[in-house]
Symmetry: C2
Subunit: 520 residues, 2 copies
């Protein structure tokens, strides 16, 4: 019988030149990065919030190939400061009012550090029981403070899972809905399946439909209008479904949104779910941005009716301090996900899974491997507590109201849609242009197109300044500037400054504006 | 004109109770976690490598709901030590020989900390130019040290992208291939598309096919055998394709593997690509595990023929020290990905994207939002350098050879397939059981099933000890124990101990083994 001692192992011995997990080096270098990041947060307002680099800037600064020999962390960190930081658009800057924020926090960061440090791969229960069990617990915790119907929680035979992003959550639920129907009507009818959303719905849904093989013609983005504040009308939905059913198509999925990306519009869940129910459709509620705010009792009514939906998701990395990526998805019927997404290769078989006593999250998502993301959400929930999390979001809403007040007092501007949550949609009014155009040129009719052009110029000019960063949307042809309050570090003074910047740039734009048609 | 100064803002002022990014608190708490993790690595061998908890253990230990008021990090960290650590299966333990490893390193950890700290969302170039540009640069760096054909690099009009996992990489490329064909033959023919792989291919591919809407009957897992060391035979592939084409089906995609999960088998790329070419199929090469080793010239030949493929991926988080998740995908024709995965909502429009001068990675992957993952890969490449990365993997291969030698010297065992890279597939031989069975019972023919049963018991017994963790595979009905060397902290002494553990447990199993059929 062979024994290790009887083998001459000397010939096999070879010392590696690196100790990539030496605890004392880990400590030394880890502290260095912590200090680097602490200083970054101290200095963050000094950087232009929107990066000012030109395309291709980095290639000019970095070597052409991987070094053969090691370089010290100190050198690399210096390069981060000199070459990477200038190329960052600073999402954590308090002057970042663009898109929807992606909030960091110390607690979220610490939880994420532990997750990276443990580096366990919790695809099934046995691969790290804590990773699975903490996730089930935390998803029930969060579901409860959102006052989600019990049927969405593990304690009510539903359940939650942390995905990377809404794109994945929508894709998973769409695939589950698709396969449920196809198992009844036959897979050859995939080409007949139709999915619905409003024209304000996030592009994540369109992408999910593309990936899931839904015919592009069967992706129905139903028109919304200012009359419903860009919410999806149940009547329009029903009319479209009727038309499609008559044409021999099969409705399968509705993606309703609470807090759309262009204007934070809110689709009326209760009546939409009622329509969907008549046709046996799956309803997913995408509350990526606004869902977090629903832990505040005064906002909870925006998701009233969710009990009629099949699934609900929000991005805790948006407004809930957990850092990218952390999309929380709840489903009423986890078995629908599992039927579509499960694979059971022999090399992953184990007693715990065979016993059916455990959750194997690999079957609730697109990927097999998964990070231990629940740690950061758990840290955030505990380290801040419900009371502070509520006041964190309420503060942002107050600041958005403050900004709204500034806009409302300046007659050159208008608030385009009533403010929901912490985002203000505003623009320069066409009427503010008429005087300028009269002065500068010969046109005497100021069209919406002129206003759009002026607002586009205003936004460009503001963003180029590096002082603040906002983005835009276009609704019913109207170009709108979005002012989203939500950065972790934002304070009232930043909102006040932002409005000053808007005014200063508007002064220049308005005094020099020449409509494009008049330029030679 | 309204001015902020003219508004009484006092009524809006409301102080939050938390400062979730206070730099000095960040510093203090960050250092605490670094020390916690350094101590974890120091102590890691003290923990049972496979978690010993029972299903539901954590719910009994944690409160039922989210706290209303904040709890200090110190308390939470104590709970991590007391309640989370026992529920971890320690993937970073040097005694972890299961699945394929997921390697951590200090450099990878530091890069990931910066990524979480900056917390930028690099969906398009403008949202953080450095995140996009560093990724393009680093993917060319890594492609070059792998000696990938220039056509896969940005410098050769291909390009690389960092995805989360292979599941995503395979899904993206499959969807691109699917849509290319459907644009020619019409979307109603989706039901006719066929995809191919060997029966050793990772379940990620089956899952991708399910998600992409490929008819389950058209997922063809072609049988392999010991005669080809479980590699996919080009003849078998061609025979299957011919049959399918005759039946009116349309071949669209082949997933070839270099380093399969069950036995690290290597599909012959050159001849497989030649077959695929005859039918205009997309070939994806999944080198999730073994791809990293191909930076060593002596292993590079295993991906010879990759020039005939359309896409190639490896998981840098497996054997390349970058921590989960970091799957590197290269494609020859990025426009194929973009055609399938692009959406262009107005709210993401910007001048840089409109100029077509920049890469917008959102169109190369499933999700919109994406972490700044290239930082950790850049840190690893620079901080270790090519020379050390090669010696890191070579050491693992040597240790696997050492273990192979131990097995070979013990006549009770066999090496089931020739060793590739750093994984040993072994088992107790049926012949080792015959004496035991003769002693203990009445059966005189020892079947493969008895051997399987004994090996399963051996593996259970080893894993329950907590000393080491290995997993299994079944190939052609034979239960095989997989011994994968690859943990960052593994040293020769751990491999020697692991073999001692195998022998000790085998001694017990063999001396007490009663085939199940003989138990009353």
């Amino acid at each position: 019988m062979g024994s290790p001692n009887s083998i001459n192992v000397a010939s096999h011995t070879s010392s590696s030149n690196i100790s990539p997990l030496d605890p004392e080096e880990f400590r030394r270098q880890g502290h260095m990065i912590i200090d680097f990041l602490a200083d970054y947060y101290l200095d963050i307002e000094k950087y232009p919030v929107l990066s000012q680099v030109e395309p291709g800037y980095l290639q000019k600064r970095l070597p052409k190939s991987t070094p053969h020999n090691p370089e010290p962390i100190e050198t690399i960190l210096q390069d981060v400061q000199e070459h990477i930081v200038p190329g960052l658009t600073h999402w954590q800057s308090p002057n970042f009012f663009a898109y929807f924020q992606c909030t960091s926090s110390i607690a979220g960061f610490l939880g994420d550090m532990l997750s990276t440090g443990f580096n366990v791969v919790g695809f099934n229960w046995i691969a790290s029981p804590a990773a699975t069990e903490l996730e089930t617990i935390v998803m029930d915790w969060l579901g409860e403070i959102l006052d989600l119907p019990k049927t969405f929680l593990f304690s009510g035979n539903g359940g939650g899972v942390i995905q990377g992003t809404t794109c994945e959550a929508v894709l998973c639920t769409l695939v589950a809905a698709r396969d449920q129907i196809l198992s009844q009507i036959g897979r050859e009818n995939l080409v007949k399946l139709v999915v619905y959303a409003s024209d304000q719905t996030h592009s994540a849904f369109q992408k999910a439909a593309q990936i899931a093989g839904i015919h592009p013609m069967n992706f129905k983005a139903i028109k919304t209008s200012k009359s419903t504040s860009y919410a999806l009308s149940p009547n329009s939905l029903r009319a479209q479904i009727c038309k499609d059913v008559e044409a021999g198509l099969v409705p399968v999925f509705l993606c309703a949104t609470v807090g759309t990306t262009p204007t934070a519009a809110i689709d009326p869940l209760e009546s939409l779910c009622a329509v969907a129910k008549d046709y046996g459709m799956w309803v997913h509620v995408d509350a990526a941005y606004a869902g977090s705010a629903c832990i505040c009792p005064e906002f909870r009514h925006f998701i009233d009716g969710v009990e009629g939906a099949n699934s609900f998701s929000l991005n805790a990395h948006k407004w809930f301090l957990t850092s990218l990526d952390c999309c929380c998805l709840w489903v009423k019927d986890p078995s629908a996900l599992i039927k579509s997404l499960s694979t059971n290769p022999e090399y992953l078989r184990n007693k715990a899974s065979d016993s059916k006593q455990v959750v194997d999250y690999k079957d609730w998502q697109i990927t097999l491997s998964r990070r231990f993301r629940s740690l950061k959400l758990w840290f955030v929930l505990r380290n801040y507590g419900v009371a502070n999390l509520r006041s964190f979001m309420r503060n942002h809403v107050k600041m958005a109201n403050l900004f709204e007040g500034f806009v409302a007092m300046d007659k050159r501007f208008e608030i385009v849609v009533p403010i929901n949550f912490a985002m203000v949609c505003f623009r320069i009014l066409p009427s503010a242009l008429s005087e300028t155009i009269y002065k500068n040129g010969k046109l005497d009719i100021v069209s919406e197109e002129h206003a759009n052009e002026a607002n586009r110029k205003l936004l460009d000019s503001i963003n180029m300044s590096g002082c603040v960063f906002m983005t835009h949307a276009v609704v019913e042809g109207v170009y709108v500037i979005r002012f989203a309050v939500g950065a972790t570090l934002v304070e009232e003074r930043h909102v006040i400054t932002a409005w000053k910047v808007v005014q200063e740039h508007a002064n220049v734009i308005l005094s020099t504006y020449k409509p494009r048609a008049l330029l030679v």
